[in-house]
């Protein structure tokens, strides 16, 4: 029943045959039936650029990881989980220090979102199970953590032997993992930090904060070594940094290629699959790098040929956040005739290249991200402004996720700052990156259509 779906995800027929017993077992546990598979195929064709091999390759990686995740307990001795906003490098360093057959690493929330959410549109049972297990509805708990908790409680994915979580970006992952620890006895290692930079500090870095991040990273590695019984190796850290640098650089080039092209060559919804693999510790490092190289070449061809998914000369917008469980909203924005030049946090601006006493060191141990967007509201605003300027956009869509406290204070401030400094309009949209029940696609469309009309009129007036 799923052969076509997997082919659409660039999985070769012989691999499908070889993996059939595992896929059958995983799909049975997941409750994915024929209807779901049909819906998945339809959604892939409808929302993503599946005619591009690069996009299909990425989908293949996600689908394989879904099967690996569901079967992890019977195939591995130890399981380590993490999830957004944990940065990839510490996870990958830990992962590469272990034997592939013994220890399984994953960001289960992200895998489920990119497959069960994006492809099958079947997240609700997980969300409801999470809501019934300590993260109730109506209280604005992070739906990413409701989903992963619900999947564990429902027995769809195993409980891990260790959860590695970051509290440097937001408070809720650590809160949810404390629940996992208290109720289900899962050991949890937290990477702590404080978002306490003062207004005017950006882009300076607080020495104490960097040192504190480092101390917490070391503590996290020690917990990992103690619980999982593996030593972190220098080789793994080097391999991680090398692989990460190669992937991130190519991804940056791809983001810039798409953002500066007119017409917009592929949907930003397709690009999201490549982006989120940058926070998922897959062992298929070569596979994701290859997929990215292929996608880059394919996009370059489209640019050279002048092919696009929106009309040439369409107003360009900067869009904050991306909905990882639902590609339809990104596509809807593009279908209203707006070219999404760039989304946050796809593009790394000049601040990342800024030399400061701690940058190399912080990057090396993987606490670099603690210094950027989570630096402060001021940094958030500055990074948004940089994005708008770098891609010369005509407007911005400040989409913010319901329940994200870190984002909340920046919403109105960012709008005011962009409008004041750049003189371009900003549309605020409330949605949810992880739960489609928290917004109405129809209402969002009405607002985006009006905004698109406004931008088109402004652009025409400017041209005249």
């Amino acid at each position: 029943m799923y052969t076509e779906l997997f082919k659409l995800c660039s999985v070769e027929p012989d691999e499908i045959e070889r993996e059939r017993p595992r896929i059958d077992k995983a799909f049975k546990i997941l409750g994915i039936g024929e209807e779901d598979v049909k819906r998945g195929e339809k959604r892939l064709r409808q929302y993503l650029d599946v005619e591009l091999l690069g996009v299909r390759r990425f989908l293949g990686i996600w689908m394989r990881e879904l099967v690996n995740l569901v079967l992890a307990r019977e195939e591995h001795e130890k399981i380590v989980y993490s999830d957004f906003p944990m940065e990839l490098r510490p996870l990958m360093s830990m992962m590469l220090s272990t034997d592939e057959r013994e220890v399984y690493f994953a960001t289960p929330g992200q895998i489920i979102n990119m497959t069960i959410g994006q492809i099958f549109d079947k997240l609700t049972p997980f969300l409801e199970a999470g809501e019934e297990s300590g993260l109730p509805p109506g209280a604005a708990h992070c739906a990413l953590y409701q989903t992963r908790l619900g999947a564990m409680v429902n027995g769809v994915i195993p409980f891990p032997d260790l959860s590695v979580i970051a509290s440097y970006h937001c408070d809720q992952p650590s809160e949810a993992e404390e629940l996992l620890h208290e109720v289900y006895g899962v050991p949890v290692a937290h990477l702590d930090s404080c978002p306490d930079a003062n207004w005017g500090d950006w882009p300076k870095f607080n020495d104490h904060r960097v040192r504190y991040c480092a101390s917490q990273a070391r503590k996290l590695f020690e917990t990992f070594e103690k619980v999982i019984g593996c030593q972190m190796t220098e080789e793994a850290i080097h391999a991680t940094n090398r692989a990460n640098a190669i992937y991130r650089l190519k991804f940056q080039q791809l983001v810039e290629l798409i953002g500066h092209a007119d017409p917009q060559p592929i949907s930003q919804a397709s690009l999201a699959h490549a982006f989120f693999l940058n926070s998922m510790p897959t062992r298929d490092i070569e596979g994701k790098q290859e997929a990215l190289e292929i996608l880059y070449e394919e996009v370059q061809q489209r640019v050279d040929q002048g092919k696009g998914i929106v009309e040439k000369g369409a107003p360009g917008v900067f869009c904050t956040a991306t909905i990882s469980v639902d590609p339809s909203i990104t596509r809807m924005i593009e279908q209203t005739g707006l070219a999404i030049r760039v989304q946050i946090p796809f593009w790394l601006g000049p601040w990342v290249l800024t030399k400061h006493p701690y940058r190399d060191w912080a990057d090396r141990i993987g606490v670099g991200p603690c210094l950027d967007i989570p630096h402060s509201c001021e940094a958030h605003v500055a990074i948004n402004l940089e994005n708008c300027k770098a891609f010369n956009v005509d407007g911005a869509i400040n989409f913010y996720p319901f329940s994200c406290r870190e984002w909340a204070a920046t919403v109105m401030i960012t709008k005011k700052a962009i409008e004041k400094e750049l003189g371009i309009p900003v549309l605020i949209l409330e949605g949810d990156c992880y739960d489609t029940r928290n917004y109405s696609a129809g209402q969002l469309r009405t607002r985006v259509e009006t905004f698109a009309e406004l931008l088109r009129a402004a652009k025409a007036a400017k041209a005249a």
Partner: protein, 402 residues
């Protein structure tokens, strides 16, 4: 719309609940405190506002000859509504209120502060700092509060206190000398000690002071002149020790949660009107933490960090969460409570998560009931809240619930 001002909430103390002379003196002081602060400010004294949560040592403010003012007002629906123009709705109600009070411009104290100090405990509190900075163009100083208590976290908090000290010195133009700081510590220790002694009187079978009275007294400590306040506390303590039991015997309740703001007395009123006694409170914000004092037997700044960070009972966002929960269990035992009311504000996710597993722990360890209630400072909540609280109290009276 015209909001009531901060001071009358506290000045109501003596007229309604206590008849002691000291309460009258305190009440009179509170009634004129705003005017007094205005005059002090006109003469050059700086008012240092701060976000409550128990991580801001007032001692540092006194030591540089400024006046600390805790921003602890809450319970009104209007500021919550006003805040919607500045932050989305899923920020904690109390934190949205603080933004609303400032932006509405009708609360004099919120306009009078010269500097707002925000110990950044979580993203809800951080939103206050960001909005005061950007929308109100206020002077804001942040320093961080890590979410766990290892040695690195202690060092980080201590570093934040040193930065705060430097900021206060620069802002007021007054150097914080150790002598002045020790005097300020003595003053604050005395105040906390008296609050603790008064609070402990509620451990008796028939407490001489109600929960509502004690909380209002506690709230007054955020604004009153410390010398006047300490004099009043000494007299009140003396009188309470000699006072014959007057309160009716009812179910003994521990009230805990995220924030118990000045002006947000509905839960206390409803519980006491239903015949219960709130014999002890534990909140992250809104009320002063008085159990621990500063022990100056080494580095004075480290002593402050030891009191305000290391020995402070942590809020629900701290890890491991057991420190707070074990403390609540001990508190429930010490004050011989019959039930716990868990009062959290909307969207304070850490409290919502912790309540889920605390109820199980409570059941296992003490076998007493817990009522979890939530507020968004909305007038329409009062009816359902009253029904739930009355039912809870009646169940305990009937010997059930456990």
């Amino acid at each position: 719309m015209k909001l009531t001002q901060v001071m009358p909430h506290v000045s109501m103390l003596s007229q309604r609940y206590l008849s002691m002379e000291a309460m009258k003196v305190l009440s009179d002081h509170m009634a004129t405190r705003l005017t007094e602060l205005t005059r002090m400010r006109e003469k050059g004294t700086k008012l240092i506002g701060y976000a409550p949560g128990g991580y801001m040592p007032e001692e540092l403010v006194y030591a540089c000859e400024a006046v600390p003012v805790g921003l602890i007002r809450g319970g009104d629906p209007e500021p919550v509504a006003e805040s919607a123009a500045y932050v989305p709705r899923f920020i904690d109600t109390f934190c949205r209120s603080q933004i609303g009070y400032r932006m509405l411009g009708e609360e004099p104290l919120y306009q009078m502060i010269d500097l707002l100090v925000v110990p950044v405990t979580d993203h809800n509190i951080k939103a206050i700092a960001d909005c005061f900075n950007f929308f109100a163009d206020a002077n804001v100083f942040r320093f961080g509060v890590p979410h766990q208590k290892d040695e690195h976290a202690f060092e980080y908090y201590l570093a934040g206190l040193h930065q705060l000290k430097e900021k206060l010195e620069e802002f007021t133009g007054n150097k914080i000398e150790n002598v002045r700081l020790r005097e300020a510590i003595d003053l604050c220790n005395r105040m906390r000690g008296l609050l603790k002694e008064i609070s402990l009187l509620r451990g008796s079978e028939r407490p001489p002071i109600t929960g509502r009275e004690f909380v209002k007294l506690n709230h007054a400590s955020f604004y009153a002149d410390k010398t006047v306040f300490i004099d009043a506390l000494e007299s009140i303590h003396q009188e309470l020790r000699e006072k014959p039991p007057s309160s009716p015997k009812g179910p003994r309740i521990l009230l805990t949660g995220s924030t118990l703001a000045m002006g947000d007395y509905k839960v206390l009123e409803m519980a006491e009107e239903a015949g219960a006694s709130i014999v002890i409170e534990e909140f992250a914000e809104g009320i002063r933490h008085y159990w621990e004092n500063v022990h100056v037997d080494g580095d004075i700044m480290e002593a402050l960090a030891d009191r305000y960070f290391r020995r402070r009972v942590p809020p629900a966002w701290f890890r491991p969460s057991r420190e707070r929960l074990d403390y609540l269990i001990e508190l429930a035992k010490d004050f011989n409570v019959d039930g716990i009311i868990w009062y959290q504000l909307m969207y304070r996710s850490s409290y919502d998560v912790q309540a889920y597993y605390f109820e199980r722990i409570l059941k296992n360890e003490l076998d007493i009931p817990m009522l979890k209630i939530e507020s968004d400072y909305d007038v329409s909540e009062r009816g359902p809240l009253r029904t739930r609280i009355e039912t809870f109290v009646e169940i305990i009276k009937a010997g059930g619930g456990s």
